[in-house]
Symmetry: D3
Subunit: 137 residues, 6 copies
């Protein structure tokens, strides 16, 4: 068993905000992250796939294929978009790094398994000072 | 003459968009950067100050003082904000990296000169792949 | 279960040195790290916390709270200090990266558990070329 | 149990290519990585060792010794070399990141165990966008 | 006048080698960089363009256009290639970082001027420890 | 004219402190940087040399020779040392980044000129957030 990781990036707007709370409640819990006019990030996404090495190619998975999956299922939907407003798989969900990482995992898992590999981990970096890791439920 | 640089960071939403153009015109010129619902970045700001070294302290400028100026004049106004909507010194201006760097320079210059030093350069990084440098007009 | 990591930094002096050994013995075992007049590092500390996502906030732990704990319990005591001489929780211990990482883990664990989360891992980077990871005993 | 990691680097040429396939087949499977005249990378190698901390030294393993092992067994053989043509332990093998990581693991394991520690993991980065991790079979 | 920089990357094989010298002479002058079977690097290329800001767009140059120029004139010719053997504009030249940076500058200059901007600088990084900068002759 | 830069690193202890001031005065001016028991940094040093390219080698300067000069004149004296106490060329001087950069410049200049090249710039990074640049007087 060996693990291979591909990094992709996307630049998005978001806010941490509950519609069912007042602005004051949102500010109290989410601080400056609740700014009504949004803020944004250069997100870095690391997708780790595990499997056996194919003896013919020396590959766990063809990285061109992995990149194609990540782009079509995830980064094309998020890059230069608003996480709260523009992204189908985030509709009605909190736009925290934790929830975004979990939903990205769910988006990618069936497509990676269809290639004969396993999705091991999503790592999602919001800033140079914080990131989230998710291995599935 | 010696040069000292301080890095600060801010996370903001923006879009490249002219109100006097249609969405189609904006899309044609600004591409995905014109997304009506915004996108965002982790900006990195490098402020370079030049001057003579004070023989008593070995300093060109006290970095604590430089940090205080950058924070109060620039990053407190930009961090977790919308560059187009929330920032007084960007009102009515294009939110491109070029224009933002020039306006940050104009915000900082008088305050740094009041400390007896000179503002040499603003470097503003929008992503790991592009940045702008401005030395004043 | 999801994992969230916060990075903090501190700049400290230290040496690898046993008082019960001669300078020659210290030099033989610890090399240049035993310099009697100290040397120092820009340490990078990554604190990883695990838990369930709170469905109301989308958070495992409030990062502002995690930062407050790390600052008060660890980095305020280490930053711009001497690891061997100035730090209460390192008194009488070897100032190696391994031991420092373990003692930082012990400092943080009860405070993170008091927030309803679990401390998963401490990663402590001494230089760009070496780091230590500790998951508790 | 604690984990310590040492980073080393090497700059090598390679290609992904099977001699028993035509150039067209190689191009179809390996794309631009099959360029007959080679290409190359600045590889980053992270070697993670685990063990108990020696109470006398505060060390899991002496990093000078770990560096000596990695240099003599791995990086001296790979740095400024051709992975396909010049490296004894890669002879007749695919020069993919996966296979290279596995063979580096096999090179290092007995030498690290001879120091009384255990080899936990090899992480091998080919570019800033992809890396492989191997924990042994 | 304002400066904007775009980063691109390419992974290439090369050697430092004079055909009119013996292997021994090459080894004496170029050391391990003269390995007959090549070695390689992940090169990072920074292209800096200067000009006035267009008041309509807030741009010095459209970065999509700059990327198109760099890709077609430079990185498509170098990426996953052999600098000594495969690159038209390097034929018969030493494949040092200095010469490569100068020739990249010469490739880009007319195309950037055709966009109404000026090429200020090429910065070419061969490893994390060395890079070359060229401003034209 | 072309510019080539070599990066080297050193890990040192220092403090900002005037013996002719009280501890209170030192604390007021230098803050936590005046900690009597020292603190330390992983310094990064960038040495930029300029000159004409030698048409035989494609080099401005042989980087192995540049590394030899930096190591013997600067980093061997600073690495794993105390800047205030252990470094001949800093004796009696303030151990600020500004002064250290200027003195490193003075150490290197004659040795680089003896190689037929010119020293252009010293860049000295103290943390990821601040650095100094010096071009000579």
């Amino acid at each position: 068993m060996i693990y291979i990781t591909r990094r992709e990036r996307f630049n998005s707007a978001h806010k941490l905000f509950r519609e069912d709370w007042s602005d004051e409640q949102n500010l109290e819990v989410f601080g400056k992250c609740s700014n009504p006019n949004w803020h944004g990030h250069n997100y870095e996404l690391y997708v780790t796939v595990k499997g056996e090495v194919n003896p013919k190619t020396g590959f766990v998975i063809d990285l061109k294929e992995l990149k194609r999956i990540i782009t079509s299922q995830v980064t094309d939907k998020l890059d230069h978009k608003n996480v709260n407003l523009d992204v189908d798989f985030m509709a009605g969900k909190m736009a925290s790094t934790e929830v975004l990482a979990m939903e990205i995992y769910n988006q990618l898992k069936p497509h990676i398994e269809a290639c004969g590999a396993q999705l091991d981990k999503i790592k999602l970096c919001e800033t140079e000072n914080n990131f989230v890791e998710y291995y599935g439920s």
